[in-house]
Amino acid sequence: MKRYVIIGAGNSGLTCAKTIRKYDKNCEIVMISDENYPPYCRCLLTYYIEDKVDEKILFENNKKILKKFNINFIQGERVEYINSTLQKVKLRSGKEIEYDKLFLGIGGTPKISKFSNDNSILVTTLRKFDEAKIIKSHFKKGNTAVLEGGGLVSLKTLLALYEIGVKIYWVVKSPYILSFIIDRESAQIIEDFILEKGINLIKNAEIIEVKNKIVKISDGKEIKADGIIIGKGVKALQIPADKEFLFDDGFKVNEYMETNIENIFAGGDCTIVYDIPHETRRKVALWPVAGEHGYFAGLNMLGMKRKYKGSVQVNSFSVFANNIIAGGKKRIFDDEREKYYEVSFKKGKVFKKFILRRTDDSICGYVFINDIFKSGPFYYEIKGGGSYERNFNRY
């Protein structure tokens, strides 16, 4: 009987396990997580903070999946060492588990900004359930929170805290918010949604000091706050092994999601994959993309040899009553003007934008604001290099 060992209980690990079980009913699947909880979705943590989701929704469904797919789940255990020659992993408790195929879905750890801190207020990141619990119990109506980092985690935390009635200052280093996700024009529209609600947005700035509950910002502002939440992206985690992994802010995997070490596969936030629209290898750390990685890794661990073409960065989020879906390449830099062009239209609250290649008018990026219906096919158009013309009549 084959034994598949999966490290990490995120979307990549869970989808990988489900895929393996679908095609191999008799194998043994072992999943190891370093958290003391059943698998859960990290994207739901902000919903948990604002009480939209309870612990039951967070865990119950995945508990059922573990049972239904007959996954042997080990929680609260960290894998300390991989012995790829003997095909064994060593846990912190000293226990050793042999594997036939190993999947690394270990994710990442939040990057922390460095500022002088006298620990007079709460300073935390938001990645794990324990952190969400701390944030939820710490912030009450009328409190003040400072959020640092212009990414989606900060935006979603902001929206959750706003619902609770917390006063918010959002400190962003770049000249506009969500600079990793969308372009300046779309960001401007979203900034307006936020400013309308009386949220203080401080751009081109960062936190420099926390002293006696006063947060000092680089533009000279001083804010009396009850806590700071940092959302500056994630750094991929690594596990020591007897052979050296090809690792550069993520495990380098081939098109079969296999690392340079035989029988070890990887996926999710801890991997470097080919980014199709950006035509480069990089980390695409997103929930649905992690699922895709897990799916393809699962098939290849079963020996099916399915090629994974690459990932496309794609995000869906809501800002108050406005829904936004953005995918692929959204920014054209000045030196790329000869290669790409953009088409956009705005009508009332609806904004749509497409980035196209000059050579064949094929689509490589899109932003939909407030009319998100039928955005799905564009994701696959980018993946398959399809044309804008062919789908245009539908939109």
Binding site: S316, S318, G376, P377, Y379
Partner: protein
């Protein structure tokens, strides 16, 4: 396991399926009263024109459904019969499924932060869209039977 299958050659683009779908998902299940309901019913099937040919788009209940992989709460799930079903009570309205559906048929609920998708009309024997199709472009059949019919038609065309 029966599936909703489409014979594209027969579709005229009359949109009877769209109306039938709306009515079947209304409170009153009647066209004349449905249009006066407080919450207007939304359709789950969309007749689109692809290069001037009308094609009905509905949920294909994909085998390894991307929407199920992307769903954060498990509100979208596969049943034992292979259907992709939706549990509205645990949906948080993140619209990841809208973002990832290859056919673009998952729509936003007009009245709340939820989605609308084909549920294969659980309280009917034959889905409303299939029943309403005047040219029988939409069929509710076993995949095997459907392809057998197609093969037969093809052979008759070349032999006769």
């Amino acid at each position: 396991m029966k599936e909703i299958l489409i014979d594209i050659e027969k579709c005229m683009g009359c949109k009877s399926c769209e109306i039938a779908c709306r009515v079947s998902h209304s409170q009153s299940k009647n066209l004349y009263t449905a249009i006066f309901e407080e919450r207007l019913p939304q359709r789950r099937i969309y007749v689109e024109k692809i290069e001037d040919i009308p094609v009905p788009f509905n949920c294909r209940h994909c085998e390894d459904a991307p929407c199920v992989i992307a769903c954060m709460t498990g509100a979208l799930f596969k049943t034992e019969d292979g259907l992709t079903m939706y549990d509205e009570s645990i949906c948080v309205g993140c619209f990841m499924c809208v973002m990832i559906c290859p056919f673009g048929i998952i729509n936003k609920n007009r009245y709340e932060k939820k989605i609308i998708k084909c549920d294969r009309c659980p309280d009917r024997e034959i889905p409303a869209c299939v029943e309403a199709c005047p040219t029988k472009a939409l069929k509710f059949k076993e995949v095997e039977d459907f392809s057998k019919e197609k093969r037969k038609k093809y052979l008759t065309e070349i032999l006769v």
